[in-house]
Every structure is written in structure tokens, then in C-alpha cells.
């Protein structure tokens, strides 16, 4: 902006460009100041949250025990003066999000391919509408649905995988929409180029269309992963907390970072050790989600097809 102005100084003398009037300059500066102020106000809570969480949570996170020990050997939350580890919760969060992605991503990609490449008319509109509805479902309702089906209808006991099932419902619309967008970005000319070579449609999609937008789809998948890793409500409803590391999705209880926070938060005001656990877990969650987000964007950037 400023270089542009310097390169071509306004010819104040000509009738067409009489220069800015004083009033307009003033109004412009006022508007600029207002925008900066709004920006600063919007930034306050963000910086505040980041500062609080990082300053209180980082110290716990920086101990090796945080990463390689669970909470076993620690008495009823709080009262024996050791923070110990969050390994059980970190592993739990990652496992649940991984199983979720394993189920949700293929469904989402196939749905997106159907909507973009094959969907015509009524059925496509219905499917698209369903995806919209799904993305509007509150996470607690998704969990309630899984609970109702699993426990009430099939009379099964809850296992950690139930949390993943609830998260699947939340992840599918996110990944479907982003994959759909990526597929629509692939120019039709590429599809036609493949058809004109006598390549069947399914092979065109598999070998030409998908590779052209794979980085975008992977990025979308990772963003979806980050989103469900930070999701809380379904875990509170269907994933019971445990102090111990459990790596089996299909039996027992499994901790996750949000439920670790939830278990300790009640002792926070009276017990600084519990507070350390809460802030440590919160900080870990933020760092984890941030890292996955960044990885997604980086991957998208590195593997983007230049054209």
C-alpha cells in the first residue's frame, strides 16, 4: 500500500485527482483506529487463555513422568502430593481419535466422491441435506444416540470404542465437506482429458481426480482428527475415566485428556496438585490439537500440486 503510494504520488493539481480532503483523511484514520481496537479486543481473550493455560500447564508438561506414567499409585484424586503422569489420558485421546478417523474418513471420502462425481438429482440432494443435519447435531446428542443404541437397545456394556462411534458422527460431516470442496476444485478438464483417452470413470476418479486433490483431503482429515481429539461431551457421557493406562479399545475404561480434567477439576480450588494436573492436561490438549493442525497444514502445503 505505502510503496504503491510512493511509486505514484497523487497528482494533486489535476481536476480528476484533487487529493484527499482533510475530513476524509480524518474519517479514514478514525475507521482504521476503530478496526485495530476491535482486533485488539478480540485478541484479549485469546491471549489470556493461551497465557493462563501455557504458564500453568507447561511446568507439569515438562516433566518426563507426565509423558511416561499414568495416575496409578496416586491416591484418590489430589491428596498425596504428586502430579504423576498423563500417559493414560494422552494415549486414550489419541487411540479414540485414531479409531474414529479409521471409521469416519473412508465413509466421508466415499460420500464426498458420490456427491461430487456421481450424485445427481433427488438422492444426492437428500444425502447432502443429511450431511448438513449431521454437522448441526450437538455432540452431546451424538453421544446420547450411541448410548441409547448401545446400552438401551442392544443391552451391551460401554467400551472405549463407543466414544469413537459417537465421535464418528461428528467427524463425518467435517471431513465430507472438506473433501467435497477439494474434489470440486479439481478442474473438469482433467476428468475430460482422462475420458478422452478411453479411461473409465471409476479409474479416472481413482487415478486422476483423487491424486490431484489428495493433499487437500489429507489436510481435511487431519483437521477432523484434531477436532474430535479435543471433543469433550461424548467422552463425559460414554467414556468412563480410569487412572490406569488402557490400550484396548474394546474392554474396560479408557481415560482421555478431557475426562482427566473433569475428574480433577472438583479438587482444584483446595489442592494445588490437582490444579497442576488440570492445567497440564489442558495445555497438552491444546499443544496436541495445535500440532496436528499444523501437521495437516504443512502436509497440505508440501504436497500441493502446482499448476
Amino acid at each position: 500500500m505505502s510503496t504503491l503510494l510512493r511509486a505514484a504520488p497523487a497528482p494533486r493539481t489535476t481536476a480528476l485527482a484533487p487529493g484527499r480532503s482533510r475530513g476524509r483523511t480524518l474519517r479514514s484514520s478514525a475507521a482504521t483506529a476503530l478496526i485495530w481496537l476491535a482486533f485488539a479486543i478480540a485478541l484479549v481473550p485469546l491471549v489470556w487463555i493461551m497465557w493462563t493455560v501455557l504458564s500453568r500447564g507447561l511446568p507439569s508438561m515438562l516433566h518426563l513422568t507426565w509423558w511416561n506414567k499414568d495416575q496409578s499409585g496416586v491416591g484418590p484424586a489430589g491428596f498425596d502430593h504428586q502430579v504423576r503422569g498423563a500417559r493414560h489420558a494422552i494415549v486414550g485421546t489419541l487411540l479414540m481419535a485414531a479409531l474414529t478417523s479409521l471409521i469416519a474418513v473412508p465413509i466421508a471420502i466415499l460420500t464426498a466422491i458420490y456427491l461430487v462425481e456421481y450424485g445427481r438429482g433427488r438422492i444426492a440432494r437428500i444425502v447432502s441435506f443429511m450431511v448438513d443435519i449431521l454437522s448441526g447435531v450437538p455432540s452431546i446428542v451424538a453421544a446420547l444416540f450411541i448410548y441409547a443404541v448401545w446400552v438401551t437397545t442392544f443391552k451391551l456394556t460401554l467400551v472405549p470404542a463407543c466414544a469413537s462411534l459417537a465421535l464418528v458422527l461428528l467427524m463425518i460431516p467435517v471431513v465430507t465437506r472438506s473433501a467435497e470442496e477439494m474434489l470440486r476444485l479439481v478442474p473438469n478438464e482433467l476428468r475430460e482429458a482422462a475420458y478422452a483417452l478411453g479411461v473409465p470413470k471409476w479409474k479416472t476418479i481413482l487415478r486422476v481426480v483423487l491424486p490431484s486433490c489428495m493433499s487437500g483431503i489429507v489436510t481435511g482429515g487431519l483437521l477432523g482428527f484434531a477436532r474430535v481429539a479435543g471433543e469433550t461431551a461424548p467422552l463425559l457421557l460414554v467414556a468412563s475415566y480410569t487412572q490406569f493406562l488402557n490400550q484396548n479399545m474394546f474392554s474396560g475404561s479408557m481415560a482421555a485428556l478431557p475426562t482427566l480434567i473433569n475428574t480433577n477439576v472438583q479438587f482444584m480450588s483446595s489442592d494445588p496438585i490437582s490444579a497442576d494436573r488440570v492445567w497440564g492436561a489442558a495445555c497438552t490438549l491444546i499443544v496436541l490439537v495445535l500440532a496436528i493442525n499444523l501437521a495437516g497444514r504443512l502436509l497440505g502445503h508440501l504436497t500441493r500440486v502446482k499448476s
Binding site: E189, E192, A193
Partner: protein
């Protein structure tokens, strides 16, 4: 390696909209046929019916017959994918596959259809690139992305890609309109050499180009705005450009409209 195309009473539709009306023509093998006419008269639409690419467009359908050496392309049971393998196409804008190297672009048609023998692939690649007059320019960087080439080179790459599957007929929709004069000359030169082996059809807006490269010329026009396009006349290029039988053809060629 080169076949005759016969079109009779062909009507082309987009849904309810009739874009081209009642075309009957014969395209001779081992020759270059040019389609000329004002914008919107249905040259591209008609061209795309010749290899059944028209029906890829939602709502696209045809009435009438197109035969390739007396084989009906629109007969029930004919696989459009097989038709497109026999009748290749080059588009207005170069469209190499962005994820593929130069080599894989040329070989896309073969590789995507399951050819794996390295000897066959290598031989086809060199032959196609030589035929498209691109071999000397790219032979040292076959592993580089196809999109790293210049526009004119990309278009020749697309031609190489189209002839790598050894079609009988090659359709080109304004293949030079996105190119500079030098690249245009290179492509025109190439078209002249391709007709030794292929039946070539070229859509062009450039009268000089039609006169330079083609053996026969078909002039399309709209009867009126909103009406479907139709074939006004078709003849030897020399005849069309010197003594056309229709007044509109002469007006169009001499630049009085269109």
C-alpha cells in the same frame, strides 16, 4: 490406422435445448478437416459427439447416427469408453495431468488401462513424443512434471498423450487458441504430418489456419440467434475459400460477419 467418419441426420441436445441441427457429412481418412463458423454455432458441441464426449455433459444427448468405417458409434451395446479409445481428442486449453511426470502424462492412456511392460511403454513414449515434435525438447527431463512445460509444449504433450493410445481419428478443438504464434506454427506443422497416419478434425477460428492445414472445410452457422447451429456447407478447402456455394460462407470468410 485411420478410418472414415460418416455422420447422418445428427441432432445434438443439451437437455431440451437443441444446440446443433441435422448435420450430415463425411470425414475422409488420412486428411485434415477443418470446422469453422461463428462463436456459439455448435462446432465444439458437434465435435464432441464424434467420440461420445458430449454425453459426459449432464443432459447431453444426440439423435441420428455416427459411423466409423460403417460401425455405428451410438448403437446400443457400444461402450463409449471404447469409442473414446479409438477416437482421441485434444482440447482448447492444454490440460496435462498435474500429478504426473512428462513420461507418465504421455503414457497415461496406456498405464491407466493396465499396460505394464516397460519396453512397450518406453517405445510408445518415444514414438509419441517424436510424432508430437516434442522429443528433442523434453528427452532429458522426462521425469519432470508435465505442467512444468510451456503452454505450447504442454499442448504438444497433450497431442502426444492422445496419439499414444493409437486412435483412428484425432479431434482437436481450437488446439492453438491459447498459444503464441511460434507454438501455433509448431502445432500446425504437426497437424500436417499427423494426417499421414490419422484422420484429423480441427476446429479453428483462424481462417488462415484452416486454409493452411486442412484439406476440406465445413462451415457451421446459426440460422438465427437462439436457433440451433447447422452445417451450411462442406467442401475442399480450396473451393470453400475461393468459390463457396453459399453467400453466408463467403461473407464469413471475407470477414463481413462473425
Amino acid at each position: 490406422m485411420s478410418k472414415r467418419v460418416d455422420v447422418s441426420d445428427l441432432h445434438v441436445y443439451y437437455g431440451d435445448f437443441k444446440a446443433v441441427e441435422d448435420v450430415t457429412m463425411t470425414i475422409a481418412p488420412r486428411s485434415v478437416t477443418a470446422f469453422i463458423g461463428p462463436s456459439g454455432c455448435g462446432k465444439s458441441t458437434f465435435l464432441r459427439t464424434l467420440n461420445r464426449m458430449h454425453e459426459v455433459t449432464p443432459g447431453g444427448r444426440v439423435e441420428g447416427t455416427v459411423t466409423l468405417d460403417s460401425e455405428d458409434l451410438y448403437a446400443p451395446g457400444v461402450d463409449p469408453v471404447a469409442v473414446r479409445r479409438t477416437i482421441g481428442m485434444v482440447f482448447q486449453r492444454p490440460n496435462p495431468f498435474p500429478t504426473m511426470s512428462i513420461r507418465n502424462n504421455v503414457l497415461a492412456g496406456l498405464r491407466l488401462n493396465g499396460v505394464k511392460e516397460k519396453a512397450t511403454l518406453d517405445e510408445t513414449m518415444e514414438r509419441s513424443l517424436r510424432a508430437a515434435n516434442l522429443w528433442e525438447e523434453v528427452k532429458d527431463r522426462l521425469g519432470k512434471p508435465g505442467v512444468s512445460l510451456s503452454g505450447g509444449q504442454q499442448q504438444r504433450l497433450c497431442i502426444a498423450r492422445a496419439i499414444a493410445v493409437e486412435p483412428q481419428v484425432l479431434l482437436m478443438d481450437e488446439p492453438c487458441s491459447a498459444l503464441d504464434p511460434i507454438s501455433t506454427l509448431a502445432i500446425e506443422d504437426l497437424i500436417g504430418r499427423l494426417k499421414a497416419d490419422y484422420t484429423v478434425v480441427v476446429v479453428t477460428h483462424n481462417m488462415q489456419q484452416a486454409a493452411r492445414v486442412s484439406d476440406s472445410t465445413a462451415f457451421f452457422n446459426l440460422a438465427a440467434t437462439g436457433k440451433p447451429g447447422r452445417l451450411v456447407e462442406m467442401n475442399d478447402t480450396a473451393t470453400i475459400f475461393s468459390t463457396p456455394s453459399q453467400r453466408v460462407t463467403e461473407d464469413y470468410i471475407s470477414g463481413r460477419f462473425g
